[in-house]
Symmetry: C2
Subunit: 248 residues, 2 copies
DNA sequence: TACAATTGTGTACCAATTACACCTTCGTTT
DNA sequence: AAACGAAGGTGTAATTGGTACACAATTGTA
């Protein structure tokens, strides 16, 4: 944790250590208790929430910068992280610039590269940044007011995720090591915001060949115990690069 | 056309009028005589070709910058133009920086936003920029040596285009007003680099409902005259936003 | 007028998706 | 301990979509 003075010095140097005009914003998706969550921070100054973000060091690849930023807010590394869009409207940080005008670094236009991440909820240790008092998961059904254009960024990420679902396997990054078929289905239903047929979902997802059926079942519920599954990493990776299906 | 001196003055001011560290590169696809083409420029100094590119003015939205750059090289406007990836490796312009080291503006790291465009070949009037002697279409089967990471940028754009083909109608921007079914099929085959069944292609593309069959046929070939089609703009736009098909 | 080449159209077959039903198993209830 | 409710496991018929073909029609040319 940095002191106020160290922070001031950091931002005073920011124009020298970071690339000017470029920022990164991350939409971090997690899944917990049947709900899709997004990691957000609450601004110190106002009743507005924003997405984890940061800047690119002078000699740092942008993918590495995104990873670094993610790690700073979550403590985790080596996660599913993809750029999905660049937000380059000159007015997108107008309000921001006013609020932080005492900070010279923020007094410039930023073009933000949007990344979205899929992470295992339980691995994340949310950590606030220098401008926030709270860093926590927000339920997609109970989203707060967003700062700047972060609602637009979030919405674009969600749309991208839904589209990706059609030709990329997802779940490995969002589910625990072992999970049941109904739990995986709930993930898909939550992302798509749509009910799926239990039997058809199972057949289709199994046909992809990315799951291993385990011997054990999950006892405890007041009903028939479902089988446990885990992802077959080899096939999963293959499906990631190949794409699940073609069109033409 | 600017004189050498005007150019020098322009680049001397570049750090003030353009956002530093940010560039835009465009992969412009055209289709002519059954061949897919990409617009490229040949460097004055070396035997290397590069993609149309440029920079973002201080208060300019990036989409507008991409459009401006495209118009400067082609003369056309209001075309299909989509960002597809950001290239942010710190070494990507290393060679570039050396070659242009007398130009202060180029002596910095650039993160490049990649756009791809689909344009009607005949509308384009290729115009060289300040660093090129030639601006012209290059056949995808006969590509030159690329400068910097432009081969990677081009390849990523082509992969994106192929993927988009699965859930977006394309063709309106690449085909003339009226065209025959075999001509449209050739476009798809060229993009995908794959033969398609004539009859199945026709059934499938017609099922999308984005084509209007015209009364006339195209005479002239030494064979049965094919019907002419045009795109139904209303349905085409709808398909663009809706996506041609879903997965889940 | 016959021919070669190309287009228009149709159909049988297989694969994938959809819409369902029935049985099994778990903890709970009585 | 037997019955029950609720959820999971598995199967199948009907429909849709995709693939692989064949044949007739039309064009300019030989």
């Amino acid at each position: 944790m940095l002191t106020k003075q160290e922070l001031d010095e950091h931002w005073a140097q920011a124009r020298e250590i970071y690339l000017n005009h470029i920022s990164i914003d991350c939409v971090v998706f997690g899944f917990h208790e049947g709900q899709l969550k997004v990691l957000m921070l609450k601004s110190n100054n106002e009743e507005a929430w924003y997405l984890p973000g940061g800047f690119v060091l002078n000699e740092e690849p942008i993918e590495q910068a995104a990873n670094r930023i993610l790690k700073e807010r979550t403590g985790i590394d080596e996660v599913f992280l993809r750029q999905f869009h660049v937000f380059g409207d000159p007015n997108r940080t107008k309000f921001h610039n006013e609020a932080y005008k005492e900070n010279a670094f923020f007094n410039q236009r930023f073009i933000s590269i949007g990344y979205y991440a899929l992470v295992d909820f339980v691995d994340v240790k949310p950590m606030p940044d220098a401008f926030s008092e709270i860093c926590t998961w927000r339920d997609l059904n109970d989203l707060p007011t967003f700062q700047l254009d972060h609602e637009h960024i979030f919405r674009t990420a969600l749309d991208t995720l839904r589209l990706q679902l059609n030709y990329q396997p997802i779940g490995y990054n969002l589910m625990p090591q072992e999970f049941t078929m109904p739990e995986l289905q709930k993930l898909y239903e939550t992302i798509l915001d749509k009910k799926l047929d239990r039997r058809n979902f199972q057949r289709r997802i199994l046909a992809f060949g990315i799951l291993d059926k385990l011997e054990q079942t999950r006892k405890g519920g007041a009903h028939k115990a479902p089988y446990l599954y885990s992802f077959n990493l080899e096939n999963y990776q293959a499906a990631l690069t190949e794409g699940l299906q073609g069109g033409w």
